[in-house]
Symmetry: C2
Subunit: 201 residues, 2 copies
Amino acid sequence: MEYGSEALARLVDEFSRLPGIGRKSARRLAFHVLKADDDTIKRLAEALTDVKSRVVFCDVCHNVTEASPCPLCSDARRPDEVVCVVEEPSDVLAIEATGEYQGRYHVLHGVLSPLDGVGPDDLKVKELLARVREAAPREVILALNPDTEGDATAFYLHKLLAPLGCEVSRIARGIPVGGDLEFADQVTLGRAIQGRELMRR
Amino acid sequence: MEYGSEALARLVDEFSRLPGIGRKSARRLAFHVLKADDDTIKRLAEALTDVKSRVVFCDVCHNVTEASPCPLCSDARRPDEVVCVVEEPSDVLAIEATGEYQGRYHVLHGVLSPLDGVGPDDLKVKELLARVREAAPREVILALNPDTEGDATAFYLHKLLAPLGCEVSRIARGIPVGGDLEFADQVTLGRAIQGRELMRR
């Protein structure tokens, strides 16, 4: 028994299965659990099982929620004419935090990734097309990550969405605010030049 | 409701209370939990509560165990004449993994840290002195971290242990194996020179 306790060894195992948590972090977390008071750990254990039992996916946008349709989809003040397509529920949070967007969302739950065996049927693509056909938004914004898989998914969705009569846009790629031209990579800088904006007089 | 679900927000909160897990990692972990299958999460929640209910501290060395005295303390093949003092249970694992030490252990559960309000009474110092008085080991090895607090604790313990008639030693500080002189900091390099070992003919 490496840890002097089989229960402790199992907790280290379970922690190290979480994403971004290696063997050493898992060990540190497990020893933290040992030292923490009983209530704290009971709360964590309950929060884990609660999430699995209480959280569902919204039938409209497929974001996480405790009641479908979710608060964002049932908010009558948000215009239906723009739909923002994102990869993950966490992206909705990130965009909401900017305060720059008031429209609707659609969560794909991933991107096309043939190497990992993720095809269109594993994503909420069919649901997006049905929704666009029915609600006929003026514009669909593709807010996917600017990596190879995000780009491929954006091109794929554009091909499917264009015939449905809505405009399709992508979020801008460029130099991050507060970034430094000198340290930007060539591709990003190239995109920033391509996507330059005219300054108003 | 920032996350569209109060249960999810609470899980993010609970995760972000763990050491080394910031807000963003907590969010990533929570979304991982959402996607993981029910069994995996049930196992993690059970492992958490199991550890709290099954793990106790050894009455002799204060290491974690499921039955006191722990396997290391009740192992009759280990000599009683050397006791290695460490800060945390995880340090016992690290030293056991080297295979270089066969003696007994004593876990302090921390180091002296006046700024954090940690004094001798918060550590297993009294227990160490009682144990040394009773078992009269030949040598006590202080295997504390080579930082300010570890150093202060080592000097403090040395002062208390010396009158009890045992030898007190510290683990060597020096250039890590595989390290590079050029990139070692001055203090470490200085210690390595001070602590140089005579080569046998």
